[in-house]
Symmetry: C2
Subunit: 431 residues, 2 copies
């Protein structure tokens, strides 16, 4: 990447798609990255900036010469610029905004007035609108005469004199209809209007549920302020499932490009919570140290009870978290699902009770030990089922994300119940 090789680099980078260039930038280390950014200069595809992970993006923006950055943001649409600048500090943000032409700057600043993670921030503020009484012919002529149209839009938004949205007309229908047709006669059968303060979670849910392509966004008075297109919402839908996955595993918003120190620091708190709950389980075991001293087999077998409970609890928890996210689990069917999970826990508890009593019998030749293991298994799998479903429902009721830390809560319950049931029963029946 050193001197003179600039042309060779350009030759290599030129044919890359913006997403591939972003991948390349992410895979380099910080020094190589800064060098590539400086070598590319104004030839860096601005769209690649929108594809970068947050950490890398900030580094790249910092490495760019101010005039190159200004040139880059000029090429982007307003919603991409918003995405790019929203996490910058105020100085950087002002610098980028100054590079924009006044019309676009107003659009970006308007977006930025809405809080992050709301429909207002997410929406595109360049909208193609028309009164409902316009004909297809008038609409086509108006669009053809417009100085600039958004590049990819799917629907024309019909508005009344109060600028309230009253319908959506897909471009494909405008194409298919005779010029004299009135727009309101070919509007979509349904329209779901979102308020600007709707959370992105609810935006994602609405798009997923109603399979809509375009949703008008309105302010508190019902006036149209923007539109959200399906492709903007789709990314959110994807993010939701990934977020659940990461929350359940105790991984935050980390990225592959994060440093060792950042990553270790981000994962530490979760591990620390887990340590506290593990110590809690150890305290339960410590209550039975006399029993273990006399029957060491208990120490050998007790992880089986805890591990099975942890696994069964995680199964139920995963189903519950996703069902809450997709709103398939509602107050209306919660009791039915809780009962079902408890019965599933009981059924598998009984099945594994039979198996592990055999293990206890064959390994140690002690039918009472087998019986204790079996009883503890049934108790723990039912407890696992109840914890797996009640904890996320409880978190949801409290307004927290049902995936947050619920894995740790559930395994705490299964560890404590498992050790207590197994060692307690052993102490009562075997001494």
């Amino acid at each position: 990447l050193e001197q003179g090789a600039r042309e060779r680099v350009l030759e290599l980078v030129e044919p890359l798609h913006e997403a591939d260039l972003a991948d390349l930038l992410e895979q380099l280390d910080a020094d190589e990255r800064a060098m590539l950014v400086r070598v590319l200069g104004r030839d860096l595809d601005p769209y690649a900036l929108t594809e970068l992970e947050e950490g890398v993006r900030d580094e790249v923006l910092e490495a760019m010469a101010p005039e190159d950055l200004a040139a880059a943001v000029k090429e982007l649409d307003a919603d991409d610029v918003v995405y790019l600048v929203e996490d910058l500090d105020e100085d950087e943000k002002a610098r980028v905004l100054q590079a924009l032409d006044p019309v676009e700057r107003v659009a970006v600043e308007k977006s930025l007035t809405y809080p992050e993670d709301t429909a207002g921030r997410l929406a595109r503020h360049e909208i193609v609108t028309a009164p409902p009484f316009w004909t297809v012919g008038q609409m086509i002529d108006a669009m053809r005469e417009a100085e600039e149209l958004p590049d990819d839009f799917h629907d024309v938004v019909l508005i009344d004199p109060k600028v309230e949205p009253v319908g959506l007309v897909p471009l494909s229908r405008i194409m298919a209809a005779p010029r004299a047709t009135r727009l309101e006669d070919i509007k979509r059968e349904e329209m779901h209007v979102l308020r600007a303060d709707t959370s992105v979670e609810d935006v994602a849910y609405a798009f997923q549920k109603y399979r809509m392509l375009t949703a008008p966004v309105v302010d508190a008075d019902g006036r149209l302020v923007g539109v959200i297109e399906f492709e903007d919402a789709a990314e959110l839908i994807d993010d939701e499932a990934e977020e659940d996955l990461k929350l359940l595993a105790g991984v935050g918003d980390e990225e592959l490009s994060d440093s060792v120190f950042e990553t270790a620091k981000a994962r530490f708190p979760w591990l620390f919570v887990n340590l506290l709950t593990a110590i809690l389980a150890s305290i339960v075991i410590a209550q039975f140290d006399r029993v273990i001293e006399q029957i060491v087999a208990l120490a050998v077998l007790m992880p089986i009870v805890a591990s099975m409970g942890g696994n069964a609890g995680t199964q139920t928890l995963t189903v519950a978290v996703r069902a809450l996210a997709t709103r398939d689990l509602t107050p209306a069917n919660a009791w039915r699902i809780i009962r079902r999970e408890a019965l599933v826990g009981l059924a598998n508890g009984l099945a594994f009770a039979v198996i592990v009593s055999g293990v206890g019998l064959i390994w140690y030749g002690d039918p009472t030990l087998g019986l204790v293991l079996a009883a503890a298994m049934v108790i723990n799998l039912v407890a696992a089922a109840l914890a797996g479903i009640l904890i996320p429902i409880g978190l949801d009721k409290l307004g927290a994300d049902p995936a947050l830390a619920s894995g740790t809560f559930v395994t705490t319950v299964t560890d404590v119940v498992g050790f207590f049931a197994f060692l307690g029963l052993a102490g009562a029946l075997m001494l």
Copy 2:
């Protein structure tokens, strides 16, 4: 829902969106569901059928009178019918297909010739095409004269005389351009063509990566056979993250409407695998029963080492599985990521070593016990990191889904290494 109340039911169901009607059907039990389907008869919104979970859908299709089912499928687009019938048995499928008019039947049958989970099956086969030399005016006139256009499409596909796709023209650009403009002059800068035998995973990945709205699908000779629109692909992208989540937790394709027996049966195999690995961990403990007999504190503290390892391993695993799914983890950066994870494991291992040595010291007043606990913690968190990254990469190399059962493999490693390191070091240093 009994006699005479049909009108009341219709009144209640009529205003429901198809997705809400589907939710309602899913929340009822099997008998109520069948009754509602029979009561609704021909007034059942056919689009609700496409929104149902698989198990419920089959029940509903079975409960419908043949003539109602025939009427319903006639209203749907070909790709919805494909989705509806692909899991039916042959008799049912033939019955539904016979209800279609010949043109649509051919389209459905054509889709069904492609294997499930491929681009060919997923694609829409009604396509709007044009030669590249057509003008915007010709295109608009042709569309307006066409007997039927697909309801929601975003791009016109430009094809050459060999029916090979050569470009995509967004409707919004056709709208904005003067009538004399040639289509090829306003085509999209990029087009990513998919082969009909591309797996749906690769389709989802391509749409996610290149943020495209429409992808032409071609046969082995490069001829256009269909198009996939963003909204069809988006569902797949979502499914991928959800699938990873469920595979990691050992939950299959289950649905909230599954019975207790079905659910318990589906979750049993995973729990059984976990039992085998838990027994393996118990065998490791059993090797040290003499040591435990003399120092019961070991039995009390050993779950801490195992639990911390399991948690740290799951963190790394989750990051690795998602990075493989989004193809951010590639052979090019694998070694860097493996090194990073090992160092993160070492860093947190050292941090927790300090903490747990304090726990050992304060609880049991034994510095050697604290040292043993600390050393086992470092060893196990490094092992957890390596298992968490190497197991999914290995599964991926073998062509398996990296999420499949990897959670169990990882916790097996952390249990075995954790117990062995802790009890082995204790045996060597404390007796």
